[in-house]
């Protein structure tokens, strides 16, 4: 046997000899690595889900909301003032070169009735560009077009949540007549399911209709041309900051806002929100990771403990090895390899357990999970490093034994 192979064989033999003890020692490492793998998987899964939700609002999207984030130093909510208009939206479309498409929305909570079912939902009026800007497909029927808009026709598209509440399962809503605030509307289409926004709002709970229809037939507003929100999309993500600057400058001019005064609108960049939520989930993942690392640390201490016991138990063996010509570093290496083998076998088992528990979490809790190969590899290598680190002290103690005392040890 060559030296390295003997060292390895000796180490594995020593671990096999005390199966229960080895298994218990590995437990800390197993749990640590499994926790790291599971936590990273769940964290990445949650992050991915949030990114999906934000992307569901539409691609490369800017939101313009009425009201300032701060007014005279007082923070007010979005949409607390009605300062945006259709004219603003049209101006953005015309005068901001970085902006590809613009849509706008006016909304109100209304009662919707079909047959003997009724449901309270958000009625939204918008222009036909809404479909492409929000990147929202039609599941059945059609979207309203310019003629519907021009004629203020009583046509509407329903979100999936509204369909679920008003219609029997299997019933086709397209062509049905519903009543919105007592006004009969023909359902011309059903919107594809979008799910929740990152802030927990059900996007599918709405009745969508042409802007002119909403203004004249349903919402009954005093000031025409007022909107609650403007969406602007850009062709590529890189144009978003430029588009935000252009929109801000344009609205400053249009709303005659003097330098030094508060804006009466707010431009929100959805990529910023995505970034913020990503860093929030990153913080959470890091927090969980540090807890998992503590388990690895405790596992390492367990390894150190058991290796010290092993060195004491095998003092005589060490004496014999020294007597027949083993050098200090041979003994050091032998116990270091043993500790590392212990931690890496534990690491491998932890890896399997981590993948397994990720699967269980995904199935039972129905959380989105995303296995990370680099994180798994890092956890495994780290477990090896724990073995080397915590194995070093006992191994050094073994290598410093006096051969005479070791041979005489009972």
């Amino acid at each position: 046997m060559n030296l390295l192979r003997m060292t390895l064989v000796t180490a594995l033999r020593a671990l096999r000899r005390n199966k229960l003890r080895s298994a218990l020692t590995m437990l800390g490492i197993i749990i640590g690595v499994a926790a790291v793998v599971t936590m990273v998987s769940i964290g990445r899964g949650a992050d991915w889900a949030v990114q999906q939700q934000i992307r569901s609002l539409g691609n490369n999207l800017l939101m313009v909301l009425p009201g300032a984030t701060t007014a005279n130093g007082v923070r007010s909510g979005w949409g607390s003032a009605s300062t945006l208009s259709v004219a603003d939206a049209n101006a953005i479309q015309k005068e901001c070169p970085a902006v590809a498409e613009v849509t706008y929305v006016k909304r109100q909570v209304v009662q919707v009735v079909y047959g003997n079912q009724n449901w309270s939902t958000s009625a939204q009026g918008s222009n036909p560009a809404y479909r492409t800007v929000r990147d929202w497909n039609v599941a059945a029927g059609r979207f309203f077009d310019d003629r519907d808009e021009a004629g203020a026709r009583p046509v509407a598209l329903l979100g999936q949540t509204v369909v679920d509440h008003l219609f029997e399962p299997g019933e086709d809503p397209v062509g049905a007549v519903i009543r919105v605030k007592e006004v009969p509307f023909e359902v011309i289409g059903v919107l594809a399911r979008k799910g929740q926004t990152a802030w927990g709002q059900d996007q599918d709970d709405l009745v969508l209709m042409p802007f002119s229809t909403a203004e004249r037939r349903v919402l009954g507003t005093q000031i025409l041309g007022n909107v609650d929100m403007i969406f602007a999309s850009t062709a590529v993500a890189g144009d978003i900051p430029a588009a935000a600057r252009e929109i801000t400058a344009l609205l400053h001019e249009r709303h005659r806002i003097q330098p030094g005064h508060d804006d009466d609108f707010t431009v929100r960049n959805l990529n910023e929100i995505a970034e913020a939520s990503r860093s929030a989930s990153q913080v959470m993942t890091n927090l969980l990771l540090s807890v998992a690392s503590i388990s690895l640390l405790v596992g390492g201490i367990g390894i150190m403990n058991i290796m010290l016991v092993s060195v004491t138990e095998r003092t005589r063996e060490i004496g014999v090895r020294l007597a027949v010509g083993a050098r200090r570093r041979h003994i050091l290496l032998q116990f270091l390899v043993e500790a590392t083998a212990l931690s890496m076998v534990g690491g491998a088992a932890g890896l399997l357990l981590g993948v397994g528990s990720t699967e269980v979490v995904a199935r039972l809790a129905e959380w989105p999970t995303l296995l990370s190969l680099p994180a798994a590899a890092a956890a495994f290598l780290f477990s090896g490093a724990v073995g080397v680190f915590f194995g070093y002290y006992p191994a050094r103690a073994a290598s410093r034994l006096d051969p005479i005392a070791a041979l005489r040890y009972e």
Binding site: M1, E317, V320, G325, A326, L407
Partner: protein, 233 residues
């Protein structure tokens, strides 16, 4: 030609707390290659300390020790490990075989640490076991072997690296009379047929009688060094 072992005024002083205990007080000795020497003495006489120094397991406080022409009194721990590996074979009272390790692997151990090529290791270990009449036992672990067999495995291990010196520390201390005779016959044969230099520690006169020269220790000094006619006891 210089004797195999040349020792001059060897001292070994232990520090126990503030106390100085001189276990060896100026020992001088020559052992020629091919001698069979028995070392006797009461416990505390310094013979164990002497054997540790002879086996390069320990360093003398003062004095010189030349083994095969080389000064080994001032070597580092690793250099002494190398000398032990190449020059010295140990046989212990309690055999000191690695448990749960086959006889063959036990015998290979010095070769592993001596960086002997892989193929040669097995050949030499097999030959050493066969020379001890244990060819059929090479895959047995110590717990499956009798005391005499275990001690013969230990002798095979001691000789596998072809040392200049065999140190036997009470090699029959754990064996019954018949087995003791068997082991001593093995040592005598190695000495007579192969010219092996042997230093044997014992406190039994009939075991010492196998040697050709008897050295007696008392209070850290050699008090008697006499040749013995073989078979005198």
């Amino acid at each position: 030609m210089e004797p195999l072992i040349v020792i001059r005024d060897l001292w070994r002083i232990y520090h126990v707390g503030d106390l100085e205990v001189a276990a060896l007080r100026g020992v001088s000795l020559d052992v020629r290659a091919g001698e069979f020497v028995a070392v006797m003495g009461a416990s505390g006489s310094g013979k164990s300390t002497f054997m540790n120094l002879l086996g390069c397991l320990d360093q003398p406080t003062r004095g010189s020790y030349r083994l095969a022409g080389r000064d080994v009194a001032t070597l580092s721990a690793d250099e002494r490990a190398h000398i032990r590996n190449r020059r010295i074979g140990f046989v212990f009272q309690s055999f000191n075989l690695l448990p749960r390790t086959t006889a063959l692997e036990n015998v290979e151990l010095p070769l592993v640490y001596g960086n002997v090529p892989l193929g040669e290791q097995r050949v030499r270990a097999r030959a050493a076991l066969a020379a001890m009449g244990l060819a059929e036992w090479e895959n047995h672990v110590p717990s499956q072997l009798s005391g005499g067999q275990q001690q013969r495995v230990a002798i095979a291990r001691a000789l596998v690296n072809r040392p200049s010196l065999l140190l036997a520390d009470e090699p029959t201390g754990n064996l019954d009379t018949a087995t003791s005779v068997e082991i001593m016959e093995v040592l005598r044969r190695l000495h007579r047929d192969e010219g092996l230099t042997i230093v044997l520690v014992t406190h039994e006169a009939d075991i010492a009688a196998y040697a050709e020269r008897l050295i007696t220790f008392r209070d850290g000094r050699i008090v008697a060094d006499v040749p013995r006619v073989e078979g005198a006891a």
